[in-house]
Amino acid sequence: MIQVVCIKQVADSETRVKIGADGKSLDPSGVTWILNPYDEFAVEQALRVKEKLGAGEVIAVSLGGAGVQATLRNVLAMGADRAIHLKTNSPADPLQAARALAAAIRDLGAQIVWFGRQAIDDDAAQVGPMTAELLELPCVTSIASFELEGTTATVERDIEGGREVVEVTLPAALTTDKGLNEPRYASLKGIMAAKKKPIDERPLELGEAGLEVVSLALPAARSAGRIVGQGTAAVPELLRVLREEARVL
């Protein structure tokens, strides 16, 4: 079975955001780049499927500048077989990314196309379902469990106040939520093997944009409030300020 995992390189969640000189993007200086945490669950699940079936190919696909190859190499070290790098130095919005990914994936014959639920940089949560729609694949988003029986996958996803159980026939696209699995670390052997695995580099011309970024700014700083007191003795004062000052009780 051929599986494709679409991944994104993002700024580490420890990053203190600084705004770039253009006033529209993140200042990349000093940023540590990592595999998007939600994509780790996608990579892990694809590898587990391949291991369970005892055969198949896992292809990692990503778009971005030259730096993206370090993250693709990391996914190869986890166990993916090969990678496709859609190379562009322009930032892609979700529609542009989805169109580029759909075009690259269309002829790969994938039975499952995996995505993280969302990237922790733009928090859009769009590329998975958009790409699936463009490929006319059924898509279940934010899955928290996964069982495969033949060509039928049974998955669960959290919704407000409940959990849906959905059955989907392959080929399909799935986006992964935290809790699906415990992603592995690359082993030393995996890291060595990854050096020999191919990364197919393809220049990418982005299509027309769906969104125009007007600005990126820091949120208004929240000023520190005050300490109402120490220990249980301060409980009545806390309740009083919540009722009378903040009026939230």
């Binding site: 859009a124 220990g231 409980v235």
Partner: protein, 325 residues
């Protein structure tokens, strides 16, 4: 030009996030012109007449036995059909779990951009600009839409609903074709074991962190949450430790929340956590370490041992509730 608003129903009941989207649509109507049209996929009318008071000028019922529960393909077709016919300037969705799943599909079908999880919409210099938190709230992005329709999903609990806006005009029944053989089926929906209200839609949240020392001590958090009518949240540390389910995690790689009141108990305030809750209206921190970063964003801090303070606070809130009962 109209504004098309996707209205979400579950089990035949219209969800309140839909009224928030209708409220924003009726406020934008002045600047964008046109009328507010609600599109409501359902099995049978769940009470579309009430949408007039919430801001809809017209309602299109896409009623079909197959649309009672969420069917991504059928819902996408229904919204896209309405968009193609009405050519709206703007389509709004609630950024609920359903809306977040559906909106990108509609945007992809229409070949236009989508601004997800917006916290403000405004017409600036003659064009629509959407404001949306990124990096879990560490930065705020503004985006414009090069093509029409613009599509935006709206963060729950941010946009105020309107009431008594008027009566909805015609409730039109949209023709819905029978679905194509579906390769995806909802087998069942299980109720969550914990709270019925999602964190993102909660007015009050009580979150616990590593300071609780063990999963069994979360009953202190649950009791305080019960007294306050709040939803239970958790820090990443305790979710990663397996004490609480991921659905309760607040912050980057969890949920971004903006409740009226956020109570952080035994949470030191890692940058990822602060990003996800700093837009709460009022923040209370209870922590024994007076230098914990959480106090830098809290409106009110209480320094003390949570194992003493939280039960005392729970009792005090219960007394208060009894007085007002």
């Amino acid at each position: 030009m109209s504004i098309l608003v996707f209205v979400e129903q579950r089990g035949g009941r219209i969800r309140s996030v839909s009224n928030e989207a209708l409220g924003e649509a009726s406020r934008l109507k002045g600047a964008l012109g046109g009328e507010v049209v609600a599109i409501l996929p359902c099995a049978s009318d769940p009470g579309a007449g009430s949408l007039g008071a919430a801001g809809a000028d017209k309602v299109r019922l896409a009623a079909h036995p197959g649309l009672g529960s969420y069917d991504p393909a059928g819902y996408t077709r229904a919204v896209v059909a309405a968009a193609v016919e009405l050519e709206p300037a703007l389509i709004l969705f609630p950024a609920s779990s359903l809306g977040k799943d559906l909106a990108p599909r509609v945007a992809a079908r229409l070949g236009v951009g989508l601004a997800s999880d917006c916290t403000a919409l405004a017409v600036e210099g003659g064009r629509l600009v959407a404001t949306r938190p990124v990096y879990a709230g560490k930065a705020i992005q503004k985006v414009a839409f090069p093509k029409t329709p613009a599509i935006a999903s709206l963060r729950p609990k941010v946009f105020a609903p309107v009431s008594n806006a008027g009566a909805a005009g015609a409730v039109a029944i949209a023709a819905v074709s029978d679905p194509a053989p579906n390769r995806m089926r909802l087998l069942r929906t299980a109720a969550a074991s914990g709270s019925k209200v999602d964190l993102t839609e909660s007015e009050v949240i009580v979150s616990g962190g590593r300071g609780l020392k063990g999963p069994e001590n979360f009953k202190l958090i649950e009791e305080l949450a019960g007294a306050l009518g709040a939803t239970v949240g958790a820090s990443r540390a305790v979710v990663d430790a397996g004490w609480r389910p991921h659905s309760e995690q607040v912050g980057q790689t969890g949920k971004t929340v903006s409740p009226k009141l956020y109570v952080a108990v035994g949470i030191s305030g890692a940058i990822q956590h602060l990003a996800g809750m700093s837009s709460s209206r009022c923040i209370v921190a209870i922590n024994k370490d007076p230098d914990a970063p959480i106090f830098k964003v809290a409106d009110y801090g209480l320094v003390g041992d949570l194992f003493e303070v939280v039960p005392a606070l729970t009792e005090a809130v219960k007394k208060l509730n009894a007085q007002h009962a």
